[in-house]
């Protein structure tokens, strides 16, 4: 940071007064996002730890609960979210190349995929709700170990619920970036917010990559065998 002249840097748009150079600002803001993602990992980590312990203790009921997941909707949703990550990455690239229309288009597609994910998720939620698979007074299950199956559903709702909340927040962030992109705020010199929102979006995607097998795919081998 010492090798730059501050007078030159001051002319760059988007450079805040307390940074010496654009490079320093970009480094700081990307690092901030990564640190934030660490906190997110710890946040979800609490639930993953609980899931691990109980799955180890109650494997049978966990397997049973997993059979009640909607395998196809879950799989399609995984594909939807993966595609959204692709369009997000293409959007970040468009912003680096300064292609404003491409950037806006890719981000809009990303939003659509995000909304699609939430839409499918609500279809699933509705099904579980109707089938009495929400924990509490309305919970209905007629097999063995109903209590532990209910516990599985507690994790299902808490983990996917917090994930869905993150998707919702992600959609909000991408919408903001679309608006700013439309106004021409980002170009090859300054596209840091696009990258950061991209990082966040990929993180939310990765959480789902873990949730999908943990909740939907508990030993399908046992099922067929």
């Amino acid at each position: 940071m010492s090798d730059s002249s501050p007078t030159l840097a001051a002319h760059q748009p988007g450079l805040q007064h307390h940074f010496a150079t654009m490079e320093q600002q970009t480094d700081a803001s990307v690092m901030g996002m990564w640190v934030f993602l660490v906190t997110e990992i710890m946040f979800f980590g609490g639930m993953f730890v609980g899931y691990m312990i109980y799955r180890y203790m109650y494997y049978g009921p966990w397997l049973e609960g997993s059979q009640h997941m909607d395998f196809w909707w879950g799989t399609i949703n995984t594909a939807v979210l993966l595609c959204s990550s692709l369009t997000m990455a293409l959007g970040v690239r468009a912003s680096q190349l300064g292609q404003r229309r491409m950037l806006v288009t890719f981000l809009l597609i990303t939003i659509l995929f995000g909304l699609g994910f939430l839409g499918i998720k609500s279809i699933e939620y509705h099904g579980h709700w109707v089938d009495g698979q929400f924990p509490g007074a309305n919970f209905r299950f007629s097999g063995p170990n109903p209590a532990q199956v209910e516990l599985f559903f507690s994790f299902y709702w808490a983990m996917t619920g917090f994930h869905a909340l993150h998707v919702l927040i992600g959609i909000g962030l991408v919408t903001y970036v679309v608006y700013r992109s439309w106004k021409g705020a980002y170009g090859p010199d300054y596209h840091n917010p696009v990258e950061n929102v991209g990082l966040y979006w990929h993180f939310v995607d990765i959480v789902w990559i873990y949730l999908y097998p943990l909740l939907y795919l508990i030993s399908h081998k046992h099922l067929s065998g």
Binding site: A28, V35, M42, G46, A147, S154, A158
Partner: protein
């Protein structure tokens, strides 16, 4: 009045740059945000203190006469929650850290000034929820929210209190994130890691805990809330859920959080001891590494809060072992402070008195921490006043002393005025005496078997309880004094020099108070921290 004084007052600084409520509520200046935090946490300090006062008054007599048992449960719960989450955790980082870290590393501001302001607004939102909880009849879970008491049996404002602490946690997370990125990316040219003041190292270690620990507290409290509202059963034994899981998750954050309530204090004390010994701090590198070591070890000891909760003996042994390990970096710190004093040119100013108090009381708190880390002793003293005394020696004897010491030390920089030294010394003395009188008897009470969290007790404990309550009244006077003379000094105090203590560090090389951008020109650092051998001038304030 005299013409000579006028230019001094008219010098531009962050306080007179702009006026009006809007210039404060929409500021992104880290120094103004620090003052916003100062006001907020002082407010909560007195609320928490008020609860403490009622607790001590109730315990003046063995019978439960002043309040009912239920009310008493609420009093100690809210005393704990307010003091821990709304005062102690933000005290040094959010006030002094916010004000000083950018200046100490030669930056114009924190890396994310708007996030910094956002974190204060999140704090205010959490505060509003906490005040709602208090005014709406309170909460009586104990500050720990243990399940299934909190999820099943209580009808008080558990969800509101949990939400308050959930929300306020995000303010800590953002502050920690901001500090980490700032310390990594915004150091002035030449300000290498091995030249950072230990105050910065201490806040860096604290930030690691904020970032890694607080989200786990957030999810634990969120799950408690979901369990109460929607009957999710993650901690519900009837579904095979385990209340112990909550304790694990809670203490995974809350034990490191205990170190949040001491590490920044260690940073403050390091600055004060070096300054008023007029000597380079002994063993700088070890001091810095010890701070990081305490932060890291802090994540490996949480289950020592659960020795009697039915965890396996082998787990208990390992957690006991790691708890003992914490003594090593802690001892390094205490020995190096005392080694710094050795052959130093010591001045007994108010901040130094607080630092002395800190070193002694922290040592007591730390040593009794080893007692309770021992499995056998812990079984005897669990949930007694011994525990209360132990952690108050760390939190109040350690952290509050350090916080007040730091406030006095940097008050000339913050306000541009000197506080009255005589009153300062008197308050420091009152606080030291009052503190020991309040909490030392509690060690004995606990060892004799007086349990915590009861509103009445056996008559044989009364003498020591009366002593404790008497001490608390002295302590209260001691805390009110600085409040009064700090306010007084803002108008009538002597105008402070840029470096009234003859201290080393970048914050003393800028003006008092600093300008909005801290420095006219970003300094280039060519010297080590605490280069007191190069500073020969001894200013009037410390003679």
């Amino acid at each position: 009045m005299t013409t000579a004084a006028v230019p001094m007052r008219e010098r531009e600084n962050y306080l007179n740059q702009e006026y009006g409520i809007k210039s404060w509520l929409l500021t992104t200046d880290h120094k103004r945000i620090a003052l916003l935090y100062l006001l907020s946490i002082t407010f909560f300090f007195f609320i928490g203190g008020f609860f403490a006062l009622l607790i001590r008054l109730e315990l003046l007599t063995p019978a439960g006469d002043l309040v009912q048992a239920d009310t008493y449960n609420k009093l100690f719960t809210m005393h704990g929650q307010v003091m821990v989450f709304f005062f102690l955790i933000p005290a040094v980082p959010a006030v002094l850290g916010n004000f000083l870290i950018p200046i100490m590393i030669g930056a114009k501001d924190l890396a994310f000034p708007r996030v910094n302001l956002l974190s204060w607004y999140i704090f205010i939102l959490g505060s509003a929820l906490m005040l709602y909880t208090i005014l709406n009849g309170g909460v009586d879970t104990g500050w720990t929210f243990y399940t299934p008491l909190s999820t099943e049996f209580l009808t008080t404002n558990v969800v509101a209190a949990a939400m308050a602490i959930f929300v306020v946690g995000f303010s800590s997370i953002l502050t920690g994130l901001n500090f980490i990125v700032t310390i990594h990316r915004l150091r002035a040219p030449g300000m290498t890691w091995s030249r950072l003041p230990l105050f910065v190292w201490a806040n860096y270690a604290t930030s690691i805990i904020f970032v890694l620990g607080t989200p786990v507290l957030a999810i634990s409290l969120a799950l408690v809330g979901l369990e109460r509202m929607f009957h999710l059963g993650i901690f519900d034994p009837r579904l095979g859920g385990d209340p112990l899981l909550f304790q694990h998750l809670f203490w995974f954050y809350s034990h490191p959080a205990v170190y949040v309530m001491i590490l920044p204090g260690m940073g403050v004390v390091s600055e004060i001891v070096a300054c008023f010994s007029h000597k380079r701090l002994f063993g700088y590198r070890f001091m810095a590494l010890a701070l990081i070591a305490i932060a890291v070890l802090g994540f490996l000891v949480w289950a020592h809060h659960m020795f009697v909760a039915g965890i396996s003996l082998y787990a208990a042994l390992i957690f006991s072992f790691f708890s003992y390990m914490v003594a090593i970096p802690s001892a390094i710190k205490v020995f190096n402070w005392t080694a710094t004093l050795y052959k130093g040119s010591i001045s007994y100013t108010t901040p130094m008195l607080y630092a002395f108090g800190f070193i002694g009381l922290f040592t007591m708190g730390g040593m009794t921490g080893l007692f309770v880390a021992a499995l056998g002793v812990d079984v005897h003293v669990t949930d007694t006043y011994f525990i209360i005394a132990h952690f108050h020696y760390i939190m109040v004897g350690g952290m509050v002393m350090a916080y007040l010491g730091g406030m006095h030390f940097w008050w000339p920089k913050i306000s541009g005025r000197m506080y009255p030294e005589g009153w300062g010394k008197l308050a420091a003395l009152l606080i030291f005496i009052g503190f020991n009188l309040t909490f030392f008897p509690q060690f004995i009470l606990g060892y004799m078997g007086m349990p915590r969290r009861y509103w009445q007790y056996s008559p044989e404990f009364q003498v020591l309880n009366v002593l404790s309550t008497a001490g608390a009244s002295i302590l209260a006077v001691g805390y009110l004094l600085p409040m009064v003379y700090f306010l007084w000094s803002m108008r009538y105090g002597k105008i402070a020099d840029d470096n009234p203590w003859g201290a080393a560090g970048l914050e003393w090389m800028t003006t008092s108070p600093p300008t909005t951008s801290n420095f006219d020109e970003i300094p280039t650092v060519t010297w080590e921290a605490y280069n007191y051998d190069q500073l020969t001038e001894v200013p009037v304030e410390r003679q």
